[in-house]
Symmetry: C2
Subunit: 116 residues, 2 copies
Amino acid sequence: MNVDVFQTLADPTRRRIVEALKGGELAVNDLVARVDIQQSGVSRHLGILQEAGFVQVRAEGTKRLYSLRPEPFQELDAWVTGYRGLWEARLDRFGQALERRRKARMANPKPEEEPP
Amino acid sequence: MNVDVFQTLADPTRRRIVEALKGGELAVNDLVARVDIQQSGVSRHLGILQEAGFVQVRAEGTKRLYSLRPEPFQELDAWVTGYRGLWEARLDRFGQALERRRKARMANPKPEEEPP
DNA sequence: TATGTATATACACGTCCATGAATGTTGACG
DNA sequence: CGTCAACATTCATGGACGTGTATATACATA
């Protein structure tokens, strides 16, 4: 977790891996199929992503299933929050009303399922 | 604007410049005083930030006043929004209530001033 | 016009890093 | 135990990039 979030996300291949994992956990070979680099490269990128806290691993037989972890994204969200004033302050009243409704929708995208 | 947002933000010196500009527009020499690299380096970083859409320039005599632009931050915000489900979906009902109140506060930090 | 200040650009250098090829390791299964 | 499959690791290499030094450009002022 000592590696920088932005530096980790700077590589386009790493972002493609992260976006592929948005749909749920995937094995290394599945990722190799979606990112057009060698398997060794994917493994190294996954190591970097893991060290930065972006992914976690789960062994299942010989396969290693990688999935996303929320922490670095929260960190990124907190960082960009410090700059929201750049555009939110410029919204007029009508725009602010729209914005509030958009946020309400985002906080409640669909009726949430029951916790287990 | 053809340069990648993450790649632009990957450099720590560039982030220090951006954070220094959060307080408002600054001349190049002011930035040199806050970032411990040479003036030529600051100018080159500002060029990169400008090409990526992060900053804009305004000439005043021989000085060039740089200030932030909202677009790349909005782009970053939109990107991380695609991953908010990673932690928001895991909140239980109590946490969700807290989260909604936090968002309401953020959408309405204080009574907004009148537009000019 | 001459001089100083503010900023941008050119050039060279060293370092970091993403990639491919090859090899190592571990688990499954006959 | 031998073989195959899935994945990690090592090594070498080419390219990108941040930095400093030096130089160029533009503006202000005497």
